[in-house]
Symmetry: C2
Subunit: 196 residues, 2 copies
């Protein structure tokens, strides 16, 4: 009996990107982001550097590759909010999608946050990612007919809530629901601005 198909096991890499991501995170936590090389990540994952570069542009992108799809997911949720939703309700639909997506990966989120917090370049990259998300959400609101400055302000407020709630969620020891922490932060923002 022969296999119906010849598999080149030298090139066939089940879930290579997941293995690379896990290997990279282990090394970043063990010895620091700066001290880790692509060759070491590939070796830890049992793969070659060439395979690494088929999945990621560089060792930084291992940490940020998910950001593009997360942003698309959030914008999709905003686009899918009912026409009757207010600007902040539409933003809230996006934040709810973020809470669901990120909330499933608390350990990874915590590890990623601690690696990013330890490196200036990574912190700056994360800031730029959040700013890019705010721009994308503001564009989404404009597509819904929301004018500026409302669209920009609502998007900036949403990203502020996301960022503050996310940081609380990863740093607090108890296992709170991210969506709940976001809702609390949004309520806090309401109270704050009402007192301004």
């Amino acid at each position: 009996m022969t296999s119906p198909r010849v598999v080149d096991v030298g090139r066939w890499e089940p879930n290579a990107s997941g293995r690379l991501r896990q290997a990279a995170m282990e090394l970043y936590l063990e010895r620091g982001f700066e001290q880790t090389t692509v060759a070491e990540i590939a070796e830890r994952a049992g793969l070659t550097a060439r395979t690494f570069f088929r999945h990621f542009a560089d060792k930084r992108e291992v940490l940020f590759a998910g950001s593009v799809s997360l942003q698309e997911h959030l914008v999709g949720a905003l686009d899918g909010a009912p026409d009757s939703a207010s600007p902040m309700e539409a933003i809230w639909a996006a934040l709810g999608a973020a809470a669901t997506a990120l909330g499933q990966h608390r350990d990874y989120s915590r590890q990623r946050q601690s690696v990013i917090a330890a490196n200036v370049e990574l912190r700056e990259r994360e800031l730029i990612k959040m700013a890019s998300l705010a721009v994308a959400l503001a564009d989404g609101l404009r597509r819904r007919g929301v004018a500026d400055p409302t669209a920009s302000l609502a998007a900036e407020a949403g990203v502020a809530v996301l960022r503050v709630a996310f940081e609380r969620w990863v740093s607090e020891p108890d296992d709170q629901d991210l969506s709940h922490v976001m809702r609390e932060s949004l309520e806090e923002l309401k109270t704050l601005t009402a007192d301004g």
Copy 2:
């Protein structure tokens, strides 16, 4: 009659940093930030490259040297707000100081904004500067006894208002008062979050 003091005119540079800043802005607008060299900026200002480097670390810092003192000015205004001020009222004291400081230099602000908007690296640097301001304002609120997440959220909301209002102010043709545009943006944020 002899001068009471010998002045080495080769080294005495009245307002060199102001002349360098103006020369740099002219060149950035004429030929673009990337296409301008430090040697050209110094030449346009009638100074040497060596003098340039006594004032600025590089050609990018000509655009950002004012950010540190602006941030100190805003934090000072926040620290000076009355003890009875709510977190957003304290943030508003800082924003008011920003409006006064920036509002006096509308032409420079407009020119600077158009140079920054045209270059990815400068846009990223500006984002980092705004994030650093949010961190400094949140620290200022914590010194006033404001706990997190309130301190972070109020600071982020303040910086969002500052950014959105500033962009409106530099892009609108009519000569509005920056402080007025900021107040409108803050009121808009209030309305928005109340409807969330």
